[in-house]
């Protein structure tokens, strides 16, 4: 799988979507001067440092960043991400309750989010978790 830490070093502003608990990761990034935030609507992140406690699909949020890392893609509607932005998309086909976009391939991630340029892609050994690292196509 891709090393998020290594990739993130190349960027100045990073947004992590549907992140769940990445407080340690955010702290590490912010400590070395990277402006990193997470957007997650789970109430447990209300008033948590570096978290925006909103639903990025339905609420009004600013997605301006150099890199957007979208975790748990299987749980969200495929929103239109800002064109020309680098992205890392990570999703699975574990079919948990609440999954609305089961991810079965890298090609599916590329198509859903209109990724134009691919830097890296792959899956885990069990071929259940997929990722794509690339750039959203300019329209």
């Amino acid at each position: 799988m891709i090393s998020l830490e290594q990739v993130c070093m190349k960027y100045d502003r990073i947004i992590i979507l549907a992140s769940n608990d990445v407080r340690e990761f955010l702290r590490t990034l912010n400590n070395i001067g990277i402006d990193a935030i997470a957007i997650d609507y789970d109430p447990k992140f209300e008033n948590t440092m570096s978290y925006v406690n909103k639903d990025f699909v339905f609420d009004d949020v600013d997605l301006t960043a150099d890199l957007i890392i979208h975790k748990n893609v299987e749980k969200t509607y495929p929103v239109e991400l800002p064109e020309g932005t680098d992205v890392i998309l990570i999703g699975d086909n574990d079919q948990h309750n609440g999954d609305c976009t089961p991810i079965k391939s890298c090609e599916q991630l590329i198509s859903l989010y209109d990724v134009g340029e691919i830097y890296d892609q792959g899956c885990d050994e069990e071929e259940t978790h997929w990722y794509v690292y690339g750039k959203i196509r300019c329209r």
């Binding site: 447990k44 639903d55 339905f58 509607y77 948990h96 609305c100």
Partner: protein, 232 residues
Amino acid sequence: MNFFTLKWGSKYGPEYVNRLYGGLKKHYHKPFTLTCYTNNHKGLREEVEVKDIKDLRKFGPTDRVFTYEKLILMEKHESGVWLDLDILIHNDITNMADDPSDYKMIWNYWNPYWMKSLRWFGKGASCHVNSSFVKFDNPEWLIKFTNDNWEKIEWTYKSLDKYLFYQHARNDRLQYWDEGLIENYNVSGKTLPGKVTIFNTSHKYNNKGIEDVLYELHEADSRVIKMWKSYD
């Protein structure tokens, strides 16, 4: 007061509609109508007004947002109360039906919020509201939000209740019946406290991993069945 209900498919027979009417007749103490949106009016008592359920399928057939027809109902009728078929009214609901709220639904007080809902919130697997008994009075904000966001809503949510919970309960837009007015037969130990008892089971079939034994209204104990049949 205008009451509304939905019936399609074969899960519930006409007796569910007819006894719902009988329950209203006994426990709502003002003039009322009951309109049933259905694809099969056979066996319905003549007091029940019948309409085609297709009238409520504005966004076409979908296997998502289960019972989204209830939302469209509010575009067609400015105010009223929508009722699920699988409820038993057993006490005076006049004040509830006449409640001035623009939108009031059920909060699942019988479930511990932290254990059952907050814990699973981030996984999209939570739901702590129930739309089996809803008073509405022209909730324009809800109709507009639904129309403006239908594509996302349909993609994201399996049921109407999940949509309402994640988008509107999360943003404190909903009002709820007071605790104790509406109970859940499958949780409350088969007693009938309050004014209305729901027998909802659909969440068991819409989600994996729910092992609870859940009873439909027609499978309830003899005391409940006797009361239900008395509404014939």
